[in-house]
């Protein structure tokens, strides 16, 4: 027999009065195990970088002196956005009115509607252009991007007071609203003047901060 009862090896007989040997407890104390487990969890929680950074594409046009290489923008579809100090934003459509009548200020929340409205206005004006649509297909682009908003152009002009976040936010706004054509360009002096005027009219501190 493979296993034998060895209980009676000592010759002791298990009579009715003999006490049985106490059974060993098979339970293991888990507490230190749990302690270590949670210690590791806290460690990993603290070191974890949950959201991996992402990147966004930015293509700048090549600087050129030749007039015919410059991108031409139709006035009717142009939207100029100026980034001022303290997250302020100014915009105007087409060309800047000498009196500044079409120069408006907005916040980053409002600008989305401005862009959407302007885009809609341009797209609504679009009359079917088979040549352009064929070209879009040949280039593998959608008709929406390539033709319908062909005349829509957003010009982003950050002033020296703008911070990097403003620029990224407004570029992001282009992605969000699927604006196909936009450019980052330095503002004209007349525009800077208009920004200054609006800022001082709004009571913003235009004096350079004393250091």
């Amino acid at each position: 027999m493979a296993s034998m009862d060895t209980g009676g090896d000592d010759g002791q007989k298990k009579g009715p009065g003999v006490k049985k040997a106490k059974k060993l407890n098979t339970r293991v104390d888990m507490t230190p195990f749990v302690d270590i487990g949670f210690l590791l969890i806290t460690f990993f929680i603290f070191t974890a970088t949950m959201s991996a950074p992402t990147t966004m594409d930015l293509n700048m046009p090549k600087d050129t002196d030749k007039k015919d290489e410059e991108t031409k923008v139709k006035q009717s579809g142009a939207l100029n956005i100026l980034l001022g100090k303290e997250n302020s934003l100014f915009y105007y459509e087409g060309e800047l009115d000498p009196t500044g009548a079409n120069f408006k200020s907005a916040t980053f929340k409002e600008i989305r509607d401005v862009i959407i409205n302007k885009k809609k206005e341009v797209v609504d004006k679009y009359v079917s252009d088979p040549a352009c649509e064929a070209e879009a297909k040949a280039k593998g682009k959608t008709v929406d991007d390539y033709c319908k908003q062909k005349d829509f152009f957003v010009i982003i002009k950050p002033t020296d007071d703008a911070v990097y976040k403003n620029v990224v936010d407004i570029l992001d706004e282009m992605t969000i609203n699927k604006v196909a054509r936009y450019a980052l360009v330095p503002p004209f002096p007349t525009e800077l003047e208009a920004v200054k005027l609006t800022e001082s009219a709004a009571g913003m501190n235009t004096a350079p901060p004393a250091k």
Partner: protein
């Protein structure tokens, strides 16, 4: 005395399910964790809706911190020699040549933010002190002393024939003129395509992009 005593309730609870859950969470965090590389200067990037992952090979990163200092870092996992070559090349272009021995304390992904004149002294420091050292930033704003163009030119030479990605990582509060100076330095080297490093963000509801992504998802589901 009563014979049938009430059995004492055991005070120790069964820990097993507790342990199960704990280790499940632990396993999740181990899997999900990607270790943060040590950053000598913390940079808070702005958010954007773009979802491209950040490349970490064959890339150079230009960082702008909150004090508008500019740093340059090289990420070349596949070829460990390239970062040294790049620094040596850049210093040659600047006419303050360094040798590979001078720069071999550079580690992949480290941020360099020193003018070339002080670069040798910086690399002579032990590596752990380099990380703690408060760097001055690469001069960019003044066109007479701007040095970033040399770095980019060197990067283009060393990574010639390979797809070099240029990343710009700016702090949310850094000023626009510095970013513009960086872009100008890139333009001087005929580089028009770059990637801006950002933190992810959801597309706002109701916008065109939101609708497009929604459609894309439902197509994938089919």
């Amino acid at each position: 005395m009563a014979r049938n005593q009430v059995k004492k309730a055991s005070t120790d609870t069964d820990m097993t399910p507790f342990v199960d859950v704990a280790f499940l969470i632990l396993a999740f965090f181990i899997m999900a964790t990607k270790f943060k590389p040590a950053e000598p200067v913390p940079i808070t990037t702005p958010n954007s809706v773009s979802s491209q992952p950040l490349p970490d090979n064959n890339a150079v990163m230009i960082s702008i911190d909150k004090d508008d200092k500019v740093y340059f870092s090289i990420m070349s996992k596949s070829d460990k020699q390239k970062p040294f070559d790049l620094i040596v090349e850049a210093s040659k272009l600047r006419n303050i040549p360094l040798t590979t021995e001078d720069v071999n304390s550079y580690r992949d992904g480290d941020m360099i933010g020193m003018p070339f004149s002080k670069l040798k002294g910086f690399f002579d420091l032990p590596h752990d002190q380099q990380l703690k050292y408060k760097q001055e930033g690469i001069p960019v704003l003044d066109s007479a002393t701007a040095e970033l163009t040399y770095w980019i030119a060197a990067a283009k030479q060393v990574f010639a024939g390979e797809q070099l990605k240029i990343l710009i990582k700016g702090d949310a509060v850094s000023k626009y003129p510095v970013f513009k100076a960086v872009v100008d330095a890139l333009k001087k080297n005929d580089e028009q395509k770059y990637n801006l490093v950002t933190s992810p963000e959801e597309a706002p509801q109701g916008t065109d992009l939101y609708k497009e992504r929604l459609q894309g998802k439902s197509k994938e589901a089919k």
